[in-house]
Every structure is written in structure tokens, then in C-alpha cells.
């Protein structure tokens, strides 16, 4: 059943207000197909009825969880958010390096706060390794990846990936930092792995969160959408506190912190934006 424009807007606004993720018009068909799957299973044929179920029907909150699982593809990959990476390389990284260089503090700290199997953290590691010759000569680089799930942390530490994970990786990086053993097996080079530490962390855990200090860049993509507003505010405030005054905080594509944290300022660049104190 095709999703009428007004029903699309209904779900787009509902999902945005609830979890801070915006469905662009270009994603209408994606949303349509995922809704169809859920509605089939729930035995509902009208979009309006399904919306009512989510909002206030019996079992609405469980159904919502299932819908969110459908529409937030959990899989990640290397070089996932290219505009963000290009902004980092072009402007944000040189800017932070210049600021820290001036005060003689030659150490860079980066946190991938929901690291999953490590693709985001390792992407940063590869980009920074390329800066070792000039911009980051003699700098100490610390990259921390954290996740609540021990299984994905083990995968991250192992550093073996399939073709799907590397599908966005530029040839240059693929050749330089991966050893391809078969069409489905890519082994990350020890040089990259060495730069990143992976730790177990629950973002709700205040006692642990306060120790994640002094980061220059923090990434937290596609996780906050699962939290309610109060928890979201609390977690984001931790990120705020743990970020250097000149640092940057990144969320995922189409995510929003509006109404979650009013302290952060938006810094816009081609293809996206980041948050700054």
C-alpha cells in the first residue's frame, strides 16, 4: 500500500519528535516499505490506524521498538559519513590542531561512543595516520571506541571485515590498510588497530561517563534515537562536559539534538553540521 504524502509527513513528524531522526523526502519509499513490513505483521492495513497503535494502542511501545529496529539499519561501514569526514580533514582537524599546538598540547583524543564493530573508530585512525607526516608529526593520538555490546567489541578488537563493511572505503585506504584474504575477508593492518582501544561502556552509567574526559572529537551516531528525551539529555550533557572547549561533537546523518541540549552550537559545513560548545 503506497504511503500518501500526508501520511508520510505524519510518520516523519512522529518519528522526528520521538527520536530526533528526520526522514528526508528522498527516503519516503524506504519508510513505506518498512512500514508495510510492520503493518503486515501487526495485521493493520491503514497507515493512520498503525500510527494510532504506535501512539496509544495496546502494545504500542513494543511495536514502536520493532519499527525503530526496521527503520534504523544497525549496520555500519568504514567511511560512512563522507561530508563529515571531509569537514574534519578540511577544517575542523586543522583548526583543533592549531589551537592545541599554540598551547603546546600535542595530543589528540577521539571517542567513538557507540563504536559497534569498530568501523568509525578505525576510519578516524586511518585518516589520522595519513596526517602523521605533516599536520600530526610528533603528536600522540588516542582513539577510544566504546559499546555496550561485548560481542561487537570482540569483533572490533579482531579487526576482520567483510566486503559490505568496506564498500565505501576509497581504494587508496583499502590497498594501504587492509589485507584482502578472499572476496569476503578483509584484515585490518596492525598499524591501524594499534591506535584504537575498545572498552565496554554503558552510556547510561554516570559513574563511568564522568571519567571519559577531555576529548577533541566525539562521535555518537544512531544510538540516541533509542533513548527517551530525559536519558538523551543526560547522555548528551556528559558528551558536552567531556568535550574540549574547542572540540566537536558529531551525531549521525539526519539526527537532531534540538530540544535535547541547548548548550551546543551548530557548526555548518558542506553536507552537514557538527556541534560545538
Amino acid at each position: 500500500m503506497s504511503l500518501a504524502d500526508k501520511d508520510f509527513e505524519l510518520f516523519r513528524d512522529y518519528i522526528y519528535n520521538l527520536c530526533g531522526i528526520y526522514f528526508h523526502s528522498s527516503k519516503k519509499y524506504f519508510l513505506e516499505s518498512r512500514l508495510a513490513r510492520r503493518m503486515d505483521e501487526a495485521g493493520i492495513s491503514s497507515h493512520v490506524e498503525y500510527h494510532k497503535l504506535l501512539k496509544s494502542g495496546p502494545g504500542g511501545s513494543q511495536e514502536l521498538k520493532k519499527l525503530l529496529d526496521e527503520i534504523t539499519t544497525n549496520e555500519t561501514c568504514f567511511f560512512r559519513n563522507l561530508p563529515q569526514l571531509s569537514a574534519l580533514e578540511n577544517k575542523l582537524l586543522p583548526e583543533v590542531v592549531a589551537t592545541k599546538g599554540k598551547i603546546g598540547f600535542r595530543k589528540l583524543r577521539i571517542w567513538s561512543a557507540a563504536s559497534s564493530s569498530g568501523e568509525e573508530a578505525y576510519t578516524m585512525a586511518m585518516i589520522l595516520l595519513e596526517k602523521r607526516v605533516a599536520l600530526l608529526k610528533d603528536w600522540i593520538i588516542e582513539i577510544v571506541g566504546t559499546d555496550i555490546n561485548e560481542t561487537v567489541l570482540a569483533q572490533a578488537r579482531e579487526g576482520i571485515y567483510n566486503s559490505y563493511s568496506v564498500r565505501n572505503t576509497p581504494d587508496f585506504y583499502l590497498k594501504k590498510y587492509f589485507k584482502q584474504e578472499s572476496s569476503e575477508r578483509y584484515i585490518l593492518s596492525p598499524e591501524v588497530k594499534k591506535l584504537v582501544t575498545f572498552n565496554h561502556l554503558n552510556l547510561y552509567d554516570d559513574t563511568k561517563m564522568i571519567f571519559m574526559k577531555s576529548f577533541d572529537f566525539i562521535f555518537c551516531a544512531n544510538v540516541l534515537i533509542y533513548f527517551d528525551t530525559a536519558s538523551k539529555s543526560k547522555v548528551v550533557q556528559h558528551f558536552y562536559n567531556n568535550l574540549q572547549p574547542y572540540g566537536y561533537f558529531f551525531v549521525g546523518q539526519s539526527e537532531s539534538l534540538h530540544g535535547v541540549n541547548d548548550n551546543f552550537k551548530t557548526v555548518h559545513f558542506p553536507g552537514g553540521f557538527a556541534y560545538k560548545k
Binding site: 528526520y22 528526508h24 578540511n90 539534538l257 552550537k265 555548518h268 553536507g271
Partner: protein, 300 residues
């Protein structure tokens, strides 16, 4: 370099050129429209507004001594009411005539230029609506014409301009700074020199002159700020002249944002993220609009 010197340099550059560019397709479309028996004035006005040089020309000519208007006419629609259909035809023909003798290539793909100009027009109108600024049409027109100096540089200083664009490509260097180093002036001053030559109303002159310096505006700082912000928002999405300049901005540090919030305090609570995502959704619309205006151009 001080502003008066830069303006002098701009004026010298503009004075050297005896004629200014226009795009004939729109003029032709206006003529076609005028041939329809049931044509509405609004349709013609909208079509004319799709060409900044033509729109500027309409306003200039209607305010020129030739037409002896008692009051200054500031919008195309009013200009059309005042001119009457016969004179619009004259005007469109004149513009086509000029264009026929031009045949110069610009430094950048003209479609990306129009996408940017219309993008800034559309986004200016959206911001004006959100800020409850009264004259949203004026914001739209001001947005469309703000970069008139760029058309000039692209057409008449093509080689130099290409060199500048190459120099700043991919790096966070500002185009206006590179222009100043190279020409001793920038597209804002050049635009102002053209706008003055064309007897543009002062508030449009001010938008053209100060769209990178909203703090300098004194006649209509709110209008200038709206266009400045629209320009920034367009420059970080696909309405960016094909990415010729790498732009980044912190909204909280933008003078225009301060000015706008003073005028419209409710803007302080704007959901900036959602606003951006909604603008992303408008990009294809703007591209389609420009495509529809210029379609057939490649065939000819």
C-alpha cells in the same frame, strides 16, 4: 584596502564594459507567455523573476526617466502593472537583442549559478516567512539578485575568475578574500557598481553590497541578514555553485543571526537541525525550477 577604494576599483571595472549580460531563454519564455490570450500578470512576473538580469532591467527601466514614474517602483509585479503588456514585450525583446550579441562563456556552469541564485531566493523567502518579515517577495527578489557581481566577473573576467576559483578549490578560503587579492575589489562592490548604474532601489543595492557584511547595512539590515543567512545555508548544500567554495559557519557567531533574532526573538528557538533537513528537501525543487526555465538550452 578600504571600502571606498574597493568600490572605485569595482566601478572602473564595470565602466570598462559597455553592456551587461542577460539570459535570453527567460526573455523568450516571457514573449511566449505574452502571446497567450489568457495570460495572467502574475505568471509573467514570476517568469521575469527567474532571470535576475532581466528582473533588474525591468525595475531599472520602469524607474528610468523614460517612464516618468511618480513613485519609485520596487517590484517586478508593480513594474508590469505600470508598464502594461506592450512595454514588457519591448523590454523582453531588448534583452534578447543584447544577449544575441553576447555569446561569451562564463567562468562557471551557468546552471549552477542559477541554482544558487534561486536557492538563495527561495531560502530567503522561507526565512522571511519564519521571521514574520513582511515583504517576503522582496526577500525572494533580493535573494535572486544578490550575486549579480558574480555574473559580471564570470562573463567579463572569465580567465582571471577561473584562476581565482582554482586557487580556492577544496580549501576553506573565502572567495571574497581571493577576489580582493586579485582584483582589488570583490563581487559585492562590483554588484553595487552595476546596481547603481541600473538605478536599483537603495535597499536592493544594499543587499548586493553587504550580503557578506550584514553588520554594515543601515537601510534594511533585516533584509540583508535574511539574504546573508540564506546564502550561507545554500552554500553548504547542493545549491553551492557546484562546490566551488568550501563554506563553513557557526550560526551563533553570525552577525546576521543576531540581527534577525533582535527583529524576531522567536527565531532563537528555531529547530535549526530540522530547518536544515527541510532545506535539503527543497533542493531538488529548486533544481527542477531552474531546469524547467533553461530546458531546451542544450538542444539549441
Amino acid at each position: 584596502m578600504d571600502a571606498s577604494m574597493m568600490f572605485q576599483n569595482a566601478q572602473n571595472m564595470v565602466d570598462k564594459i559597455t553592456d551587461l549580460p542577460t539570459i535570453p531563454i527567460v526573455a523568450t519564455k516571457v514573449l511566449e507567455l505574452l502571446d497567450k490570450p489568457d495570460v495572467e500578470l502574475d505568471e509573467v512576473a514570476d517568469m521575469i523573476l527567474t532571470d535576475q538580469v532581466l528582473a533588474a532591467r525591468v525595475i531599472k527601466i520602469v524607474n528610468s526617466p523614460l517612464y516618468r514614474s511618480a513613485h519609485e517602483i520596487k517590484s517586478v509585479k508593480r513594474a508590469l502593472v505600470y508598464l502594461g503588456f506592450r512595454h514588457i514585450r519591448e523590454l523582453a525583446l531588448t534583452c534578447s537583442f543584447i544577449e544575441a550579441f553576447q555569446g561569451k562563456d562564463g567562468a562557471f556552469d551557468v546552471m549552477t549559478f542559477w541554482e544558487h541564485s534561486f536557492g538563495v531566493g527561495v531560502v530567503s523567502k522561507i526565512i522571511a516567512q519564519r521571521a514574520r518579515y513582511m515583504d517576503t517577495e522582496k526577500a525572494y527578489l533580493a535573494g535572486i539578485i544578490h550575486d549579480i557581481g558574480e555574473v559580471f566577473l564570470s562573463y567579463y573576467y572569465k580567465d582571471d575568475f577561473i584562476r581565482i576559483l582554482d586557487e580556492i578549490k577544496g580549501a576553506p578560503n573565502k572567495l571574497v578574500d581571493a577576489e580582493e587579492r586579485f582584483f582589488g575589489t570583490n563581487h559585492c562592490h562590483i554588484g553595487l557598481a552595476i546596481a547603481k548604474k541600473w538605478n536599483f532601489p537603495p535597499e536592493y543595492c544594499e543587499v548586493i553590497a553587504n550580503h557578506h557584511n550584514p553588520g554594515e547595512a543601515s537601510i534594511e539590515p533585516i533584509l540583508v541578514s535574511i539574504v546573508n543567512l540564506a546564502d550561507l545555508f545554500c552554500s553548504v548544500r547542493q545549491l553551492d555553485y557546484g562546490g566551488r567554495e568550501w563554506v563553513s559557519f557557526n550560526l551563533a557567531e553570525e552577525k546576521a543571526w543576531d540581527i534577525l533574532k533582535q527583529f524576531a526573538p522567536h527565531m532563537a528557538t528555531l529547530d535549526v537541525e530540522r530547518f536544515c533537513y527541510e532545506l535539503d528537501d527543497r533542493v531538488p525543487e529548486v533544481q527542477d525550477l531552474v531546469k524547467s526555465i533553461f530546458e531546451g538550452m542544450v538542444m539549441e
